[in-house]
C-alpha cells in the first residue's frame, strides 16, 4: 500500500490543491470520514465543514468547504466544492461582526426574496463559525 494519495481540491473558480498527501478528513453528509491511501471507492456529498489534510510532512492544512461532493477511488481523491477557502484566511472577530450584521439585516428584510437570501448567508456564516471554533 502506498503511503500517499493524490488529492485534488477544486472549486468552480480555480484548482486549490493538487498534490500528494498522507490522509484527509472529509466532512461527508453522514459524518466525518477519514481517507487514507487504498480507501474503498466512495462518492459522497459534502456537508459544510472543515476538510483537514495531513500533508506528507505531517503538517496539517485546513480548508473550509461547502456544497459539492467528494470522490475517492484507490489512491486518488477529488473534492469538488462550490466554496472552498483555506481556514487560516478567516478571522474569528470579523466573522462575529459579520454574523451580527447579518442578523440585523435579516430582521430588517422587507420581502420574502431578501429574507431568503439573508437567511442563507447567515446559515453560511454560522457554519463557518462553528467550523472555526471547534475545528469541525
Amino acid at each position: 500500500m502506498a503511503d500517499a494519495l493524490k488529492l485534488e481540491l477544486v472549486s468552480p473558480e480555480k484548482e486549490l490543491a493538487s498534490r500528494m498527501v498522507r490522509e484527509v478528513l472529509v466532512p461527508g453528509l453522514e459524518g466525518y470520514f477519514e481517507v487514507r491511501p487504498g480507501h474503498a471507492p466512495v462518492l459522497s456529498i459534502l456537508r459544510p465543514g472543515v476538510l483537514r489534510i495531513t500533508e506528507i510532512s505531517n503538517a496539517e492544512t485546513q480548508f473550509f468547504v461547502r456544497g459539492g461532493y467528494v470522490e475517492v477511488g484507490g489512491d486518488e481523491m477529488s473534492v469538488l466544492a462550490e466554496y472552498a477557502m483555506p481556514l487560516e484566511q478567516f478571522d474569528a472577530e470579523k466573522l462575529q461582526r459579520e454574523i451580527r450584521w447579518a442578523e440585523e439585516d435579516l430582521q430588517d428584510a422587507r420581502n420574502e426574496e431578501e429574507h431568503r437570501k439573508l437567511a442563507e448567508r447567515l446559515d453560511f456564516l454560522r457554519a463557518l463559525q462553528t467550523a472555526l471554533e471547534t475545528g469541525f
Binding site: P12, V42, I45
Partner: protein, 296 residues
C-alpha cells in the same frame, strides 16, 4: 475639393480616433488574457461535475423518481430563454450574433405554438430584444455592469433564480444562449439547454463501466438529485466565462480592424494632402516665373 486646412484637420481627427481604437484593442487583449485564464481555471470543475452526473445518470436512467432537473416535467410547453450578452458595445457583431440566434429560436418556438419567456443577462441583448419582444420579458436584465471580475456567486444567483422558477412550475425547458470562445477571431453563438439537463451520451458511455464498485453516501439517487441543481450554477458560470472571453476577443478583432481602417484612411488622406500641397507650390512657382518673364 477640400482645402489644405480641411484635409489637415481630417487627418488629425482620424489619427486621434486611431489612437483610441488602438488603446481599446490593447485593453481588450489584456482583459482577454484574464478572461481566458478564468475560463481555463473553471474547466476542471465543470468537467468532473459532468462526468459524475453522466455516470450517475446513465445508471439511474430508467428508474422511478428521478429529479425533474434531468427528466423534465413531461411537457415542453413553456420555454424560458436566457440570453447572455455583453454590457458594452463596440465589439463587432458579438451581441448581434447572439441575439440573432435567440431570435431564430423564439420564432421557431412561437411557430410551434409554445409559450416563450425571456430573461436577459447583460444590457446589450436586452436593448435589442425589448423592441420586438417586450411582452415576453419576464424581468429587467440581470445587471453585471459593475462586475469587474466574474465570480461563481454571480452565476449562482442567476441559477438560483432559474431553479426557483422551475420549482414553481413557471417553465418546462430552459435554454441559455451564449457565445463559445473558439479563437480571437472566431466566436460561435450557441444554445445550451440547462433544464432538463442534457447529458452527453458519449461521456456517459465512457464512464459507465468504471463506477460499478463505488460506495454511495447517501444513495446514488440522492446524490444525483443534489448535484443536478448545483450543476445549473456550474453551467451558467461556464457560459458566462466563455461569454466574457468571447466578448473581449470580438472587441479585440473589431478594434484591430478599426485601427487598420484608420491607418488606411490616414494614408489616402495624406496622399491627397501632399498632392494638393505640391499643386499649390507648382502654381506659385508658375506665377513667379511668368511674372519674371513679363518684366524681362
Amino acid at each position: 475639393m477640400p482645402s489644405l486646412k480641411d484635409l489637415r484637420n481630417r487627418i488629425n481627427s482620424v489619427k486621434a480616433t486611431q489612437k483610441i481604437t488602438k488603446a481599446m484593442q490593447m485593453v481588450a487583449a489584456a482583459k482577454l488574457r484574464h478572461a481566458q485564464e478564468a475560463a481555463e481555471a473553471a474547466r476542471p470543475y465543470s468537467q468532473r461535475m459532468n462526468a459524475v452526473i453522466a455516470r450517475l445518470a446513465s445508471r439511474l436512467k430508467d428508474q422511478e423518481g428521478i429529479s425533474p432537473f434531468l427528466a423534465g416535467t413531461g411537457r415542453e410547453d413553456v420555454h424560458l430563454l436566457v440570453v447572455c450578452t455583453a454590457e458594452r458595445g463596440l465589439c463587432g457583431a458579438f451581441n448581434a450574433n447572439i441575439v440573432k440566434l435567440a431570435t431564430e429560436h423564439i420564432e421557431r418556438l412561437k411557430g410551434e405554438g409554445r409559450t416563450v419567456k425571456l430573461l436577459c443577462v447583460g444590457r446589450k441583448g436586452y436593448d435589442q430584444l425589448k423592441r420586438p419582444y417586450r411582452d415576453l420579458m419576464i424581468d429587467a436584465p440581470v445587471d453585471l455592469k459593475q462586475v469587474k471580475r466574474l465570480r461563481f456567486q454571480h452565476a449562482h444567483e442567476i441559477a438560483d433564480r432559474l431553479i426557483r422558477m422551475f420549482e414553481k412550475g413557471e417553465f418546462d425547458v430552459c435554454t441559455l444562449f451564449y457565445s463559445e470562445f473558439q479563437s480571437v477571431i472566431k466566436q460561435t453563438p450557441r444554445p445550451l439547454q440547462l433544464i432538463p439537463a442534457r447529458i452527453e451520451e458519449q461521456t456517459a458511455e465512457e464512464t459507465a463501466g468504471s463506477g460499478a464498485t463505488y460506495e454511495y453516501e447517501p444513495d446514488e439517487q440522492e446524490i444525483l438529485n443534489d448535484l443536478l441543481p448545483r450543476n445549473v450554477s456550474v453551467q451558467v458560470f461556464r457560459a458566462l466565462l466563455e461569454n466574457a472571453a468571447s466578448e473581449q476577443g470580438a472587441r479585440m478583432t473589431a478594434m484591430d480592424n478599426a485601427t487598420r481602417n484608420a491607418g488606411e484612411m490616414i494614408r489616402t488622406l495624406t496622399l491627397d494632402y501632399n498632392r494638393q500641397r505640391q499643386a499649390l507650390i507648382t502654381k506659385e512657382l508658375m506665377e513667379i516665373i511668368s511674372g519674371a518673364e513679363a518684366i524681362s
